[in-house]
């Protein structure tokens, strides 16, 4: 402790000294126990680190600077949230369809922030280098703050709209939320180096612009000032995380040439897993925002084809190439959002947000943005659905879908070179068959089958009888298994999910605001 001596002012450290003491001065080599037993998890992945002191956090953030910045941001955020609530800001959004993006965000993204908090706390414990450990711990605190500010911001909407009431309960159970959940748990159950490569680099650096930007500019375009504000509050953390992600990968690559093929395999894997996760964002951008920012196809071109291409050019001096199957993702850019929205339209009675068919003006926008695919492949399907709905026969798919063993998304993806044929891949392992949506997912399984034979696939779990509330008796007459599953999910059946046009959300919006529930 630096208790000041009487009459003497304590010496103020420079930022550089402060950072050095925090990240080097606090580290030591253990003597009672061997270092390998204190840090048992930082070698088994095959990554070799010769000199942890080469780790440089580009921000050199110290604890006092960290608390100061974050405290200032918190004060601003909560002042704005207060004002938003007092002014009934929830009624100033474009229309009530927009709220469904918040439902998707709160159930599918906020729990990932919390998972990231846990993951970075674990990585912080497992790295033997103090610099890396401190950086991971600070990110762990950031992620916890993001989860918290998101819950606080969106909880206001929960007073007025359905489907926002129990997101953490749903995250652990609902079929489509197993997509983000399994993505993160895959990373957390790997070693610490794979975890940071997956999350800090492949997600935060390469793909995060495709997640955060669409939600936050979507919020701004659609009048949701509360969400924009937590977006801003998280943005400076995100840029720090992105920079860290790049530094992590460069550090690992520079430490030993043997690390290069291991990192390349992780980049291939985590690019593909992250890209599959972004399917949810693609449909949000093209279908769920009443006022659109840009199309998924345009966002992919800007943020991946251009920016990502430049990044991997930079990394080529380390012997790193573009992630495998990036060209498949580019081929899918004209189909991804339409296929995904169609799938949720099929199963929206089992989702916690609403779906709807685009209005004429929105179909026109889709035709313009997707001239190669929309009118030919999707418009006929959507117009048929709209006609059925007008006849009072809104289409729902009542049979559970086949899922990919790795990404856990229903198998709606089509062949890279033929958008009319479902893409099927399979492997035989230990006398069982396993099915995949793509070569990317099949490669991941084939490399580590012992990990992925354990996938908790929601559809298979339902059929095994594992998705009912305790005490449920499936043998009673008239037992409706799928209805019971929705109760297990914690849904308010008849309010959450289903067709937007028929929803209480729409009726309430029109009643309370006097504005139409959807654009004409």
């Amino acid at each position: 402790m630096n208790t000041p001596l009487a009459g003497k002012r304590p010496k103020t450290l420079s930022l550089k000294e402060n950072y050095a003491l925090l990240t080097r001065g606090l580290g030591w080599n253990t003597t009672y126990e061997p270092m390998d037993e204190v840090f048992p998890q930082d070698k088994f992945e095959g990554i070799k680190i010769h000199d942890w002191n080469k780790w440089e956090d580009p921000f050199r953030l110290t604890m006092d600077a960290y608390w100061k910045y974050q405290g200032e941001k918190e004060r601003k955020l909560y002042a704005i949230i207060d004002a938003f609530q007092q002014n009934n800001g929830q009624f100033n959004v474009s229309d009530a369809r927009y709220i469904n993006t918040l439902k998707l965000f709160l159930t599918g993204v906020s729990p990932l922030e919390y998972a990231a908090h846990r993951g970075f706390a674990m990585a912080g414990r497992n790295f033997r280098g103090a610099g890396a450990s401190i950086a991971a711990q600070m990110q762990a605190i950031d992620e916890l703050r993001h989860a918290q500010t998101q819950a606080h911001t969106i909880s206001h909407y929960n007073k007025f709209f359905n489907g926002l009431h129990d997101y953490m309960h749903m995250y652990d159970r609902v079929w489509y939320l197993s997509v983000p959940k399994s993505y993160f748990e895959d990373a957390m159950t790997a070693g610490p180096f794979e975890f940071v490569t997956a999350i800090s680099f492949s997600f935060e650096y390469v793909l995060t612009n495709l997640l955060f930007m669409p939600f936050m500019s979507g919020a701004a375009f659609n009048g949701d000032m509360a969400t924009v504000t937590f977006g801003f509050s998280a943005q400076s953390d995100e840029s720090r995380h992105m920079t860290l992600g790049l530094e992590v990968v460069k550090f690992i690559l520079e430490q030993d040439p043997g690390n290069i093929p291991i990192v390349q395999r992780w980049l291939d894997k985590w690019f593909w897993r992250g890209y599959r996760l972004l399917t949810l964002v693609a449909m949000m951008m093209d279908y769920m925002l009443p006022k659109r920012v840009m199309s998924w196809g345009e966002a992919w071109e800007m943020y991946f084809e251009q920016n990502g291409g430049a990044l991997f050019n930079d990394l080529s001096r380390y012997g790193i190439r573009m992630p495998k199957y990036h060209e498949v993702a580019t081929k899918e850019k004209d189909r991804l959002s339409h296929d995904a929205w169609g799938a949720f339209y099929n199963y929206t009675h089992a989702a916690v947000f609403h779906t709807w068919m685009p209005e004429d003006s929105e179909m026109k926008w889709l035709s313009e943005k997707y001239p190669k695919t929309f009118d030919k492949l999707y418009r006929p399907r959507f117009e048929f659905w709209r006609e059925q709905q007008q006849k009072g026969q809104r289409f729902y798919n009542n049979t559970l879908p086949m899922l990919c063993q790795i990404c856990q998304v229903p198998m709606f993806f089509t062949e890279p070179d033929d958008p009319t044929k479902i893409c099927y891949r399979e492997s035989d392992y230990r006398d069982n068959k396993f099915h995949f949506c793509s070569d990317g997912c099949k490669d991941i399984f084939d490399h580590e089958p012992e990990k992925y034979v354990q996938s908790w696939l929601p559809v298979h779990q339902i059929y095994q009888g594992n998705c009912f509330r305790p005490g449920t008796d499936p043998s009673v007459p008239g037992f409706d298994p799928l209805l019971e599953v929705l109760h297990y999910y914690g849904f308010h059946v008849g309010e959450d999910g289903g067709e937007y046009q028929d929803s209480p959300d729409r009726k309430n919006w029109e009643l309370w605001t006097g504005k139409p529930g959807a654009a004409a």
Binding site: G342, W385, F395, L400, R430, N432, L457
Partner: protein, 120 residues
């Protein structure tokens, strides 16, 4: 290499072994060129189910809302088992037709290509 793990010889539990399905097995069914039903279906079936029951009852029920379903000429349907064409025997069970747990059965209906020819 079957997994990168802390302990040598690590193995995982196969979550979806057939024994976990209470006497049934899973069958995946996909209708080619008909993507209005967005993905192939997954259904639990008894292994001794005659293949003919799929045609007579099960498949038409799964795709009841599709305008092409009533037009299917089952004598002309092309069947694929894990992607390979095969000729099922309607009187025999799924097992005897080589369709085990988590088998993938796809079918193509010549002349029918979805809503307005869009493969929907």
């Amino acid at each position: 290499m079957s997994v990168v793990a802390l302990s040598p010889g690590y193995t995982g539990e196969i979550k979806d072994r057939v024994e976990n399905f209470h006497g049934k097995q899973l069958l995946f069914i996909g209708w080619e060129d008909h993507l209005m039903y967005c993905a192939p279906m997954c259904i639990p079936v008894p292994p001794d189910l005659p293949f003919g029951a799929l045609i007579a009852e099960i498949i038409p029920g799964l795709y009841a809302a599709h305008p092409d379903t009533a037009k299917i000429d089952w004598s002309r349907v092309v069947w694929l088992r894990s992607g390979e064409a095969f000729a099922p025997d309607a009187a025999k069970s799924l097992t005897d037709n080589g369709l085990g747990h988590k088998a993938l059965l796809r079918f193509r209906t010549p002349g029918l290509d979805g809503i307005n020819g869009s493969c929907s």
